[in-house]
């Protein structure tokens, strides 16, 4: 296979001391922010975007990839050891992991999560390397109209499939699309929605919006209803990973990977659905049904693996189509763009070395994460105990730094606060934040492709349905838009993760995922969205 040869070449590049150093820095930083509540990979990468001015592309992207994978590992530690409900894609891990930790099996829960993440991450990254060239061959000839259809599918999926409330997801998407419109139109040079403010003529900086919605919005929201009192961390105690634990974990790891990678790779991806499906599957297949809800190791192993495999899967549409399907992927796309690189079907040929070094460094980073997480679990537990007043004050300090560093303009900080207040209101009323980010970043790309397609057809809208590809994709988008709304109207509230854990399972296995999955969790994509 050519892909394996390319991967070997990438591995050689990834193993240079400098690149190893950036990978290490990335995974350490990623694990730390993954462990800390309130911060996630999306926010961290957004805050660090200004360093793309100082670093060369390979180093910066290796750093971001490390943060992306590290965040997944760190998140599982938090959900297992912190006795509070957490983010959506780690909810399933928390259900069983938390019970295991309470029953004195915390060490085994952490071990199966770390090992499962490693197994899933490695297999999924290898799959990414194998699948990416094939996908590129398939999509190399897609037209502007096809691309517009894909963008529409990504919009609809991020807005309606992942969140708990499809309409609120669409509302959030609309805000993102609006923010993306502000500024000067690229094709004609006309100002749009700038209100005559000269600073807005260049558009609203993505960093400002991302940092505002994630960091400032989250800090304000947490401040509004902070859990007072000391932080309750369960000790990671008990016997370490036994041979019996291993036997019970291997199956869930592999099944979780098999669910996570393909679902993450779909343009309607995300880590949330596969983790729910994995949990439901393991519950059905287990030989120890009595343990579920009381700390079954399968219920930690499967969802954790699915979570990590989905994270790798999300990179398939990002690298081959330039299509981000999660907030973190959207911000990594911005990092590419800030180097003048546009991910898409030609990326693998035009930036071959960069892409293969990036994929190889994901494998390297994954190994580093295993080494970092297995013996150092106790260190990360200390990070969990950071006093919350200082944690959120610190997040705001870094938000100020990242935002001011872009243009050195205090006006940006005022804008940051204003959009941060919007982020606060969105969280308070259950509007997911990720669709806004994806809309902001993918919106201008979608518009350019739409106008290019319509320019070729001289304004005939029929061009949007010219190819089978665009017809199928738009039909899928329509389904993704209509089905959740109809389902809600017909059946009312969807089942919650707790009901799922209590044994109701998926109510409608045939088109199952959506209803039992989205339930009650509003930051779509969860862990990686903060």
């Amino acid at each position: 296979m050519g892909a394996l040869g390319d991967l070997a070449g990438g591995l050689a590049d990834a193993l240079t001391p400098v690149n190893l150093l950036f990978a290490l820095l990335g995974v350490v930083l990623g694990t730390a922010v993954g462990v800390l509540p309130g911060i996630g990979p999306a926010m961290t990468v957004a805050l660090l975007l200004p360093i793309t001015y100082a670093l060369e592309p390979t180093a910066a992207l290796i750093l971001f990839a490390g943060i992306y994978y590290g965040g997944m590992y760190g998140g599982s530690t938090t959900s297992i050891l912190l006795n509070t409900p957490g983010e959506s894609s780690s909810i399933m891990t928390a259900l069983e992991g938390n019970q295991m930790a309470k029953a004195g099996r915390g060490a085994a829960a952490l071990a199966t999560a770390a090992l499962g993440s490693f197994v899933a991450g490695t297999i999924a990254t290898l799959l990414l390397a194998l699948v990416a060239p094939t996908v590129v061959d398939l999509v190399i000839g897609i037209t502007a109209a096809d691309y517009f259809a894909l963008a529409v599918l990504a919009f609809v999926a991020v807005a309606t499939v992942l969140g708990s409330s499809p309409l609120r997801g669409l509302a959030s998407l609309g805000i993102g699309l609006y923010l993306g419109l502000v500024g000067t139109d690229v094709l004609t040079g006309q100002e749009r929605f700038t209100l005559g403010v000269p600073q807005l003529a260049d558009g609203i900086d993505v960093v400002v919006v991302a940092v505002a919605l994630f960091a400032v919005g989250e800090s304000l929201y947490v401040a509004s209803r902070l859990r007072r009192g000391p932080v309750q961390v369960i000790a990671a105690s008990g016997p370490w990973f036994t041979r019996r634990d291993l036997r019970r974990s291997v199956g869930p790891w592999l099944r979780g990977t098999a669910l996570g990678f393909p679902l993450g790779a779909l343009p309607a991806g995300g880590a949330e659905i596969p983790t729910f499906l994995s949990y439901a599957t393991e519950r059905k297949l287990t030989k120890h049904p009595e343990e579920f809800g009381k700390g079954a190791i399968e219920g930690v192993a499967g969802p954790e693996a699915a979570n990590n495999a989905a994270a790798a899967g999300v990179l398939v549409p990002l690298l081959t189509l330039g299509l981000p399907t999660s907030a973190t992927a959207a911000i990594i796309l911005v990092a590419f763009q800030s180097y003048g690189i546009q991910p898409g079907p030609t990326l693998l040929t035009s930036e071959s070395t960069l892409v293969w070094t990036l994929i190889a460094s994901l494998l390297v980073g994954n190994l580093m994460l295993l080494v970092l997480n297995l013996p150092l679990a106790r260190v990360w537990v200390q990070v969990l105990r950071v006093p919350r007043p200082y944690l959120y004050a610190g997040i705001l300090m870094f938000a100020s730094l990242g935002c001011y560093a872009v243009n050195a303009d205090p006006l940006d900080l005022v804008l940051l606060l204003a959009i941060g207040l919007l982020g606060f209101a969105m969280r308070r009323y259950g509007w997911p934040v990720a669709p806004a980010i994806v809309g902001l970043i993918l919106g201008p790309v979608a518009e350019t492709n739409l106008r290019r397609a319509l320019a070729i057809s001289s304004g005939d809208l029929g061009v949007l349905l010219d190819t089978w590809f665009s017809r199928v994709v738009l039909a899928l988008a329509l389904l993704a838009l209509v089905v959740p709304i109809v389902l809600r109207a017909v059946r009312g509230r969807r089942s919650t993760p707790e009901e799922l854990a209590a044994g109701e399972g998926l109510r409608h296995p045939d088109h199952g995922h959506r209803e039992s999955v989205g339930a009650r969790t509003d930051g779509p994509g969860g862990e990686e969205e903060r």
Binding site: P37, G38, P50, I51, A54, T78, N83, T84, P85, G86, E87, K102, S165, L170, A171, G174, L177, Y178, L181, D185, Q190, E191, R192, V216, S219, L220, V222, A223, S224, R225, L226, R227, R228, G229, Q232, P387, P389, Y390, A393, L396, M397, S400, L401, A405, A408, P410, L413, L417, F424, R428, Y429, G430, G443, L450, R451, G459, R493, E498, R520, D522
Partner: protein
């Protein structure tokens, strides 16, 4: 546990903590129409109208045999307005969005507006002070105020923590990574040799 009145001084976890917190996360039964939700919908509808009306003011240059800079704004405006109408309909029927979850959020706690207010003022203040007294000092004051609003004890510790952290961050980013960040007269003099 979930039924008990929230007491800010008592940690809401106990032996059955996970289950109690899980139960308390079940969506609250709709208790009438939420004014906040309605306000969000009205704002969204206003945004949709603004997009549709202001799109008409975008200048379209020259030949127009292709679609110009107005088409996509009209599309977005239409989607936003339609979403606002549909969401407004649902909210009027008592639908409520599930508030976001986070490890540090107490779902039973009432909203603490003073905390939010202090943080907003502190952040706004530091934005205006940066170019006057430098980033480290401005951000130290903000850090201390925010920490204090979130329940940090004392005056010295928050100030000290903010000061040490901000000077450290400033040195790393300005001296090592060449990020432009005003340090204030004193700090810039003191670190001139670096």
């Amino acid at each position: 546990m979930s039924g008990a009145a929230p007491d800010p001084d008592v940690s809401t976890t106990d032996a059955t903590g996970a289950h109690a917190s899980a139960a308390s996360r079940a969506p609250a039964p709709p208790a009438g129409i939420s004014r906040g939700e309605l306000a969000m919908v009205v704002l969204l509808g206003a945004l949709g109208l603004y997009l549709l009306l202001d799109a008409a003011n975008i200048a379209v240059p020259g030949s127009s045999n292709t679609i110009g800079p107005r088409f996509f704004p009209y599309l977005v405006g239409g989607v936003v307005l339609a979403t606002a109408l549909a969401l407004g309909f649902r909210v009027l029927r008592g639908d409520r969005g599930p508030a976001d979850e986070s490890e540090d959020v107490d779902p039973d706690a009432p909203t603490s507006w003073p905390s939010v207010g202090i943080i907003v003022v502190a952040f706004l203040g530091h934005a205006l002070l940066i170019n006057v007294i430098g980033w480290p000092l401005a951000v130290t004051l903000m850090f201390a105020l925010v920490a204090w609003a979130l329940g940090a004890r004392g005056v010295v510790r928050p100030l000290l923590a903010g000061g040490v952290l901000s000077v450290f961050v400033w040195i790393v980013f300005v001296k090592a990574l060449n990020v432009a960040l005003p340090g204030g007269t004193l700090l810039e003099l003191a670190t001139g040799w670096l």
